[in-house]
């Protein structure tokens, strides 16, 4: 049980282990391709994917440079995430503290949350057209609903006595919200945001099915239509990689923002 024991081993141990595990998986993958276990049409080897990456980095995919596909997707997703967090956390907390707000809004949140966003595309197009906003909105919606649900649930585990302590210090409703509930739920909120961002990033592909002509999600879907498995896999690797980096960023932020986690 070495949970909080960060001192054993060097600080490099963790990244080294992670790298080793990743390298091992890549090696098995490469070998399985080289030994012909799976045809190249279905699972190109890492070296093939790398070749494609270099090729696309130079010539672009469908007249769009590779970095631009990445940048476009990141811009869409990160904008949606930020707005989703900024709106979802307050709404979720309000639902957590007010039974009335919860009774009024919970059915919609919990109804919409598990809905496949793919199925909503026609409606979103009717309402918002086929421009950037529709793509933003789909990612936003998926992230927002999860953040709301997570934030509302987080309120329930705030200790009763802490709320009481704040009440006798004379906080008003807004202050209770901003200065007590928000920081108290921060550890849980970070977890919810991490899960929600995962969901949002997953929705990228659905969002980029809406009349896009660039972006990683679009690239994957489009290349898949022509069995360009190497491009598909490159897209998947990039999607996963940037998803992972986004998660690392959130975890890093949590360590800075919630130093008291687990030490109360």
């Amino acid at each position: 049980m070495t949970r909080t024991d960060g001192t054993r081993g060097s600080a490099l141990r963790r990244p080294l282990l992670s790298l080793a595990a990743t390298a091992a998986v890549l090696a098995v993958w490469q070998a399985s391709g080289a030994l012909g276990w799976i045809g190249p049409n279905l699972l190109p080897t890492p070296t093939e994917v790398l070749t494609t990456a270099l090729e696309l980095a130079e010539t672009g995919y469908r007249q769009v440079p590779l970095w631009e596909h990445v940048a476009v997707s990141l811009a869409r997703a990160v904008a949606a995430f930020l707005v989703a967090i900024a709106t979802g956390v307050p709404l979720g907390l309000v639902m957590g503290i007010s039974p009335t707000a919860s009774a009024l809004l919970d059915p919609f949140v919990q109804f919409l949350r598990p809905l496949p966003k793919l199925a909503l595309i026609p409606l979103v197009i009717v309402w918002f057209g086929i421009g950037e906003f529709s793509k933003f909105f789909l990612i936003y919606l998926a992230t927002f609903l999860s953040v709301v649900a997570g934030a509302a649930a987080a309120v329930a585990s705030v200790g009763r006595d802490r709320l009481r302590a704040a009440e006798v210090l004379g906080v008003n409703r807004w202050q209770m919200f901003r200065h007590v509930l928000l920081p108290s739920t921060l550890p849980d909120l970070f977890t919810s945001v991490r899960l929600a961002i995962g969901i949002g990033w997953t929705t990228l592909i659905a969002a980029e099915m809406v009349a896009a002509s660039s972006g990683l999600g679009w690239m994957v879907v489009n290349a898949g239509a022509y069995l360009r498995t190497d491009v598909v896999l490159l897209g998947i690797v990039l999607l996963g990689l940037f998803g992972y980096l986004l998660d690392l960023a959130v975890v890093g932020l949590r360590k800075r923002v919630v130093p008291w986690m687990g030490r109360e």
Partner: protein
């Protein structure tokens, strides 16, 4: 000849004449074994299913079939199931009278579809400066939604979506049949997994024969056939009627002429082999396949043996 335990047929779920055989079980009867109908949503899915050996015979469009062959899928084309004539059309707003006038406008099409190919062909035939056209990919239902908002000015798509666009003020400016005179054909074909066909040639032959029976049945009573198919697939009857009527059905015998697939010897020069080459060139042009991957001829991937047997045994 031995018979497989089950024959796996891939179908798109839209109204097509061979659905008559799905509805009444003709294929099972003819094969003397059971049939598993495997639905797919798009040509892309078909390629995956074929690569994964989850399909034996499939009916789908010429564009994805060509893409699959370029990507070295072990499959071959055995026949044309229907030629797209008026079932796929270019619908535009009232003020747009010709294809040329699409310059400066927004046009939508479903990705990697026969309609996509036809749209590009139409641009070529009518000498449209493609750089001036804003092209967007949308699924058919989404395309209707975008139309209703005024986000797009034209769309190349199939029924029942064409009718929807017309109901909302659209007007046909081109149908796929109009491109045939310029040598651009779009069609649906039967594609088999080579391995399966080698092992069970009779199944392929019988499939083609049942196909012809169902075409005949449709031609004898289009209205009744449409009703059967609409009910079986839970789709709109009007849409079914117009989709079925919007395809041309060259008979198996006709298909053996160079006008279609040819008889083996004439195949390299056949319309279909040339059509596939055109399609391949188009795919390379838009950057979806590597030029280097395109075979010099598509004739080796068109196997007319089964067609000939199907006709000979009739």
């Amino acid at each position: 000849e031995e018979v497989p335990e089950v024959v796996r047929l891939g179908y798109a779920g839209g109204p097509r004449v061979w659905m008559l055989g799905k509805a009444d079980g003709s294929f099972e009867k003819a094969f003397g074994t059971s049939v598993k109908w495997i639905p797919f949503a798009s040509g892309a899915d078909v390629l995956t299913l074929l690569a994964a050996k989850e399909l034996d015979i499939v009916r789908f469009g010429s564009s994805p079939a060509t893409a699959g062959i370029i990507r070295k899928l072990p499959v071959e084309v055995v026949a044309v199931s229907g030629v797209i004539a008026t079932s796929e059309r270019l619908i535009a707003r009232q003020e747009i009278a010709s294809v040329k006038q699409l310059e400066g406008k927004t046009v939508a099409y479903p990705a990697n579809s026969t309609a996509h190919y036809a749209l590009q062909a139409a641009f070529k035939v009518h000498k449209v400066d493609v750089a001036k056209v804003k092209q967007v990919t949308l699924k058919p239902a989404e395309l209707v939604a975008a139309w209703s908002r005024g986000d797009i000015d034209a769309a190349y798509v199939w029924g029942p979506f064409t009718q929807q666009l017309e109901a909302q003020g659209g007007k046909e400016i081109l149908a796929s049949r109009d491109l045939q005179k310029d040598g651009y054909y779009v069609w649906n074909n039967y594609v088999v997994r080579t391995e399966f066909a080698k092992k069970y040639p009779q199944i392929v032959v019988k499939l083609l024969q049942v196909h012809q029976q169902k075409v005949d049945q449709y031609k004898a009573d289009p209205e009744d056939s449409a009703k059967i198919i609409a009910a079986h697939l839970n789709v709109d009857l009007d849409a079914t009627r117009s989709t079925l009527a919007g395809l041309e059905y060259p008979s198996l015998a006709e298909q053996l002429t160079p006008r279609w697939v040819g008889d083996g010897a004439t195949t390299p020069d056949s319309t279909i082999a040339r059509g596939m080459a055109d399609t391949a060139a188009f795919l390379a042009e838009i950057g979806e396949v590597r030029k280097a991957d395109i075979p010099p001829s598509f004739a080796p991937f068109i196997n007319t043996t089964y067609l000939r047997q199907a006709v000979g045994q009739k």
